[in-house]
């Protein structure tokens, strides 16, 4: 099922790379592969940013 907020967008993409991406993500379609790539990239970025904030504060694990 598609996520709640999905829009139609026209993009110019390399078809070979798109096929590679679909295989890499084992996705059911090219569109699904692009959605997964976006979701994962943003999620990992958000997770790393949160970790960086913890590191910068320097309070983790200290009494």
């Amino acid at each position: 099922m598609l996520p709640h907020k999905v829009i139609k967008k026209t993009l110019r993409l390399d078809p070979d790379k798109l096929a590679q991406l679909q295989k890499l993500f084992n996705a059911s379609s090219e569109a699904e592969a692009v959605r997964q790539a976006i979701d994962e990239t943003l999620a990992y970025s958000e997770a790393l940013q949160a970790a960086r904030r913890i590191q910068r504060r320097g309070t983790f694990g200290h009494n």
Binding site: A47, L48, T59, F60
Partner: protein, 146 residues
């Protein structure tokens, strides 16, 4: 396909405190290989000393969970962990389950996810790796220097 990496607390706690092992952990994020075990997650929460650290850990976990990068023990993993401790105790003398349960559950999580387990805890993890291999559960270890 490159194997995902599951980091245990012996790596992630120093990483969050002092950025030790930063190159390796950051690379796992950049390549989307990073997996988080719920057992490690519990241990990280135990290390939070401020509301803001806790909130950022929440964000980190929520983001990873949203793309299914959090692994959790299956019910039978608890059975296997108990059997591993019993097996070790029969051959080498009594050990305390609660001191080893987390390591075993983390190792089993790595096995389930076919992930490389990254640890500093060489002695314990190599022991459990050997015993798990005998039980048909092969875990790949990457041991970092403390």
């Amino acid at each position: 396909m490159v194997a995902p990496q599951l980091f245990d607390s012996s790596v992630l706690i120093p990483w969050l405190r002092t950025r030790q092992y930063d190159t390796l952990v950051t690379a796992a994020f950049d390549t989307r290989r990073f997996l988080l075990s719920t057992v490690v997650w519990m241990e990280l929460y135990a290390g939070t000393r401020s509301r803001t650290d806790k909130q950022d850990l929440d964000r980190m976990v929520t983001a990873l969970a949203s793309v299914k990068r959090v692994v959790t023990p299956a019910p039978e993993d608890f059975y296997t962990a108990g059997q591993m401790v019993a097996s070790y105790a029969r051959h080498h003398g009594q050990i305390v389950l609660r001191e080893h349960a987390n390591d075993l559950l983390i190792a089993l999580g790595a096995w389930r996810a076919a992930a490389e387990l990254v640890t500093v805890n060489r002695q314990d993890m190599e022991r459990w790796q050997r015993l798990l291999r005998r039980a048909g559960r092969r875990v790949t270890l990457r041991v970092m220097e403390a």
